[in-house]
């Protein structure tokens, strides 16, 4: 039915509220690329109207959204820019290069800080939306500069700087919670103000810029994301009383060790920071140690650092100490736990390990770390090193006092929040599977083998650490016992299963016999039609009674489904399909596991 609107009447409902994209572009009097840019910067997205007045194949924007763009000063700014562009073009066409150059310098510029505040009126809102921003900035920090694709060196450097600032904050305040090394890159999850922020950093390798990607769209996103991250970083730095654009040691920067430089900056300004005194003292001692090791020509730099530290020894520092203590209460239990994980350990990174990631991760969990290269805090020969992170097939020269482990060990320890035994991760071995910390195994219905062992180890660790007095001896049993119990349970289960199997076979035998009997009767006797049918019926009745239980259960399920209204039934069936898919996936995994085990057994034999 076609709706007829009388001439004097205004549009109503969805027709009045939503307009298509082309209508919006027309309304704003901008080009489509500019419209896109405005949408990206203002954070305006199409909406799904309840009724699509213009048809199904249009994108609809809310009229208010478009009006929102229309009244933004940014739109005027872009128009101005366009007019200005024409001026430059004209000057060039008239061969007035001088004017063109001068005009180039005075190009009208715009700032996005107002937009950031408008889109995220509260800081928490910004944090909530930070995932994509961080992923993008981290990826662009790793991209090669390309003129043709408009990826400028300046922006890449800016991205790099921002990402390092972010990581330095996370590492310093021990906010990192989970790390996952995937094929796509390394996922990190941090928790700030109760918001879980997950981002992906690419592996530190050369990225390729594909051709089938519209870089203008991406760069517009990046433009906003850079601004956002800068303000977020600024806010976060101010919360821990560090001045924001951190002034970095140019030498360390030159060595592409901005992260370390940043941590230095933190350490230097820690006198005023809210970070607890112990940590700062720790870093201080670290510095002192490094001071001893490094040669004289580097001491200038260190001296400057120490001078920054000096106020902490002054009487005023005591006040700060108090502050620090009060600050510690604000930290939640998680943070405290994270801070302690690697506290007693000292790591040394070999050349071939992903240094940037580990330099970020290990200090975030309270460890001390050094690497091969100039300006490293301590060298390979340091006797206090407990673990050396190595990722090579063999390690020729070994020092007995330390363990040579693969980098996966660090990540697994972090995800498990305990120090895992290093046997599986030693040099030259194939490490145990690296599991995703983001998966809820129980909900998924399938628990990988290694997840179970980790769980057991965690339980064991908890028991050791927390020998509460109120709890009886049973709970305090050492993990070996627990393990044994588990084994016993399993054995019992196995026995039960076997018994069941036995029963089943017996039953089957009985059935078979019955059948044989039946056939015998049929063959031997030529009784009247009736009787034979009776006999058959009896037999069949018996036969049917046995598989009935299953049938009955199925039937009861079906019966209640019959009475359901159609809508609910559809929903129910959809749920069942989802469940079934999940179950099928789990079954597939289990089958594969079985096959692998069999093949391993056969290989072993």
């Amino acid at each position: 039915m076609k709706h007829y609107r009388p001439p004097g009447k205004k549009k109503e409902g969805n027709a009045a509220k939503y307009i298509t994209r082309s209508q919006a572009v027309k309304l704003l009097q901008v080009s489509l690329p500019l419209f896109r840019k405005l949408c990206i910067l203002k954070g305006i997205h199409p909406r799904e109207p309840k009724k699509k007045v213009k048809g199904n194949h249009h994108t609809y924007y809310h009229l208010k959204d478009i009006a929102f763009i229309q009244h933004d000063p940014l739109l005027e700014k872009f128009r101005e820019q366009r007019a200005y562009e024409k001026k430059i073009k004209k000057a060039k066409a008239k061969k007035n290069q001088e004017r063109a150059n001068r005009l180039e310098l005075r190009r009208p510029d715009y700032k996005l800080d107002r937009l950031v505040l408008e889109r995220y009126p509260k800081f928490v809102d910004a944090l909530r939306d930070l995932d994509d921003c961080l992923t993008m900035v981290h990826l662009f920090a790793a991209l090669p500069v390309s003129d043709r694709k408009k990826v400028e060196a300046e922006r890449v450097h800016n991205c790099r700087r921002l990402s390092h600032e972010w990581q330095a904050y996370i590492s310093r305040t021990h906010r990192l919670r989970k790390v996952f090394v995937s094929v796509k890159g390394i996922y990190y999850q941090a928790e700030i103000q109760g918001q879980k922020i997950t981002w992906l950093t690419p592996h530190a390798l050369q990225q390729v810029l594909p051709d089938d990607v519209d870089y203008t769209v991406m760069l517009t996103f990046l433009e906003f994301n850079e601004t956002l991250l800068a303000f977020v970083n600024c806010h976060l730095y101010h919360t821990i009383n560090v001045t924001y654009p951190p002034i970095l040691d140019p030498r360390l920067e030159a060595f592409a060790e901005e992260l370390y430089a940043l941590s230095r900056w933190f350490a230097a300004t820690s006198s005023t920071s809210m970070v607890d005194s112990e940590a700062s003292g720790l870093s201080g001692s670290e510095q002192v140690k490094s001071e001893q090791e490094t040669s004289l020509n580097e001491s200038e730099l260190r001296l400057a650092q120490l001078q920054h530290q000096l106020p902490s020894n002054e009487p005023g520092a005591l006040m700060h100490l108090v502050e620090d203590l009060s600050g510690e209460d604000e930290e939640d239990e998680d943070t405290r736990e994270c801070k302690k994980l690697f506290r007693t350990m000292k790591f040394y990174l070999s050349r071939e390990v992903p240094r940037e990631s580990l330099l970020f991760v290990i200090p975030a969990f309270g460890g001390m770390v050094s690497w091969e290269g100039d300006d490293a805090p301590f060298g390979e020969g340091d006797e206090n090193i407990t673990h050396q992170i190595v990722d090579r097939p063999t390690q020729a020269h070994r020092i007995l006092s330390r363990e040579y482990v693969q980098p996966q060990w660090i990540y697994d320890c972090i995800n498990a929040r305990i120090i895992l035994p290093t046997e599986g991760y030693l040099v030259g071995r194939v490490p145990p599977p690296h599991l995703s910390p983001f998966v809820d195994n129980d909900a998924e219905g399938y628990v990988p083998e290694y997840a179970e062992t980790i769980k057991r180890l965690q339980a064991a660790a908890r028991n050791e650490v927390l020998p509460l007095p109120g709890i009886g001896k049973d709970d305090l049993e050492d993990p070996q016992n627990l393990l044994a119990e588990g084994v016993i349970d399993r054995a019992e289960a196995k026995e039960a299963a076997e018994r069941k199997q036995m029963m089943m076979t017996l039953e089957k035998q009985y059935h078979d016999e019955l059948k044989k009997e039946l056939h015998g009767v049929q063959y031997s006797s030529s009784v009247s039609n009736m009787q034979s049918s009776f006999g058959e019926e009896m037999e069949e009745g018996k036969e049917e009674a046995l598989p009935d239980m299953q049938q009955i259960a199925e039937d009861t399920e079906n019966l209640s489904k019959i009475v359901m209204p159609r809508k609910k039934r559809g929903l129910y069936e959809a749920m069942q399909i989802g469940k079934e898919r999940k179950r099928a996936h789990v079954a597939l995994l289990e089958e594969r596991k079985k096959k692998i085990k069999e093949s391993q057994k056969s290989n072993g034999n």
Binding site: H45, R47, K64, F68, L105, K111, D113, K122, F123, D129, D131, M136, L139, V181, S182, V183, K184, Y187, P202, H203, L205, Q206, Q207, V208, L209, D212, F221, A230, F231, C234, H235, Y244, P245, E352, V353, D391, Q406, V430, P433, H434, L435, S436, V439, P448, E449, S533, G541, E544, D555, L559, S560, I562, V563, M564, K568, Y572, K579, E590, R592, K593
Partner: protein, 730 residues
Amino acid sequence: MGKQSRSKEEGGNMTKKKTTNTPHKQLPPPESDSDSDSASEYHDEDEEFSEDDGSEDFESLRHSETEDSASSGDEEGIVDEGMPSDHSSDEEEESETSQQQQLDEGVEESDSSDDEVHDRNTVGYVVPLKWYENEKHIGYDIKGRKIKKKEKDDKLQSFLARTDDSKTLRISDEYNDEEVELTKGETKFIRRLLKGKAPHPDFDPYAPSVDFFKWDGAKHPLSNAPEPKRRFIPSNWDKKMVVRIVRAIRKGLYHFEEPKKEPPVRPLWVDESSSTEKSRHLANIPAPKLKLPGHEESYNPSLEYIPTQEEIDAYQSMYEEDRPKYIPKRFPSMRSIPAYENAVKELFERCLDLLMCPRKWNNRIDIKPESLKPKLPSKKDLKPYPMTCYLEYRGHTDAVMSVSVDASGQWIASGSRDGTVRIWEVETGRCLRVWEVDEAVKCVAWNPVRELPVLAVSVEQDILILNTGFGNEEEQERAKELLLVKAPISLDDSGNTASIVSWLHDDKHGGIRLRHFKTVSSIEWHRKGDYLSAVMPAGESRAILIHQVSKKQSQRIPFKLHGLPVSSVFHPTRSIFFISTKKNVRVYDLVKQKLIKKLETGLREVSSIAVHPAGDNVIVGSREGKLCWFDMDLSSQPYRTLKCHPKDITSLAFHRSYPIFASGSDDCTAYVFHGMVYSDLNQNPLIVPLQILRGHRSSNGRGVLDCKFHPRQPWLFTAGADSVIKLYCH
């Protein structure tokens, strides 16, 4: 000391100059006769050279010319400066001499004269030599003395002389009266000239021409336009511009651009309290976050997450949408992880999603599927109802099409496709009687009056009304009387020769045979046992007939039929007649002869209908396995539609006293429902599925063909296509 060395150098240079300068003067050798001695020196040298490389090219000549001027300039420079050392000057000398040698050669060749003292004779070429023919002299030398003619050799001598040194070519110079010996080079020259070639072998007549000036896009080789004035007069405009700029600078209007500085990042979100007020704008819908990676995305997943090669190959045959986007891989160590090739692309896709995907709040339902199921009253409270198979009646050899239960509940009759009608005892399962009717039986129906044990059977086009022979004598008597047809009666359609139906006496079975003009699909007795309705789906306007057995009469129903009739039912208490067509059910009042109601089933094809014993509720079964419950007081739409069977519903039945009904279907099952109708009109009927009865086997794609309840007990009889009748009891 420096001075001395310098003087020494100078001296050296001077000496050199002697040797070097001479050839310059000599350049045009024929004119300069002075310095003859030096020249002769050179000549000697020259001869040495000319033997081995007798021919130097013109180019070298030209080269030497240009070099010459340069070198002379050089020399002057050297002299002035006196800088180069002795050694270097020596070297230079050497080079110089070699150049001269080349030069001399060139000179000599160009002139082609053998010695410097050429032309002893001074008479000149103007004077013809024949003037001296008769004189003893041929001319005068430079001092004016007569040059005497040589004695002429006789021919023999000259020949001998020629043969003596045949290697060299000699020619006579008449002018000077001499014999001139030609050098090798000269003979070569002559030979080349004779051949018509350029005399010098290295001369290239077709050398590419090189212009001596540069074109530079000029139309004409050289311009003789006068130098414009502007080239040497300062620009007026420039002056004006400078003046303007100077004035602007003085006034302070002109300031130089400084590179723009980024303003420092100031902390936003300073006072959050101000932003608590709600913005006037629409609420932004945040984009959903990306899915977090699972175990399979790990660089080192458990082995069971990695698909086998066959599985990966199988992905290729899948639809692109179903194909997994990511195939897990395993890397033995972290250093072997390569860069992810789709990183930029995936980020771009995410950007596009953020930009272009319409967003909408979706209420996520977090419910357990079990909670969706309606709470059914417990089955125990709804007992009794048929639950298990108690008896089977075997005897038919083909599908049992229909069963019917005697009003007393003692007997059942069944009609089968094998052409027999059987009567069974319910409690024992004994077959009491068999009628062979030879053709497939469609439908059997007991007369609902207990005192009249009569059975109606539809066989193709006929309906047989048979006397079963049960009951006491009085009843038998009555039945026999009823079934007596004295003469064939036929109902004629007005103007139609072919009779619609004719009443005949059936001799074989001793009953009435009603012969119709089309196949009868279903028959139904009126509750009083006198009327019998028959449906012939192919009968068009005469599809439904009502026969009155007592009067042996038949009549058409006085209503227009809309659509193909399927079956017809009498109302259990009132004179109301239900006719179900394929789509709808129409309810007619037989007394007033008008349509009461039309029930819109909304089904594709109605297959069966049953009326609740109270008469206000009707259930309709369809070929798509759906079952509609109509509450006639409520509306013409179904009160409840139940989708229970996956296949056609073949029959429906209400129990006469218990609140249960059943549906039989081709999927070999029969469902038993609790269908409670309350006397309170405000309360809707309660429908609860109770039991699924299984046991029949499928044959030819058909399962349960008919089901009927026992009149008193909650027992259900089902007729199956597997030629078995089953009794289900509670």
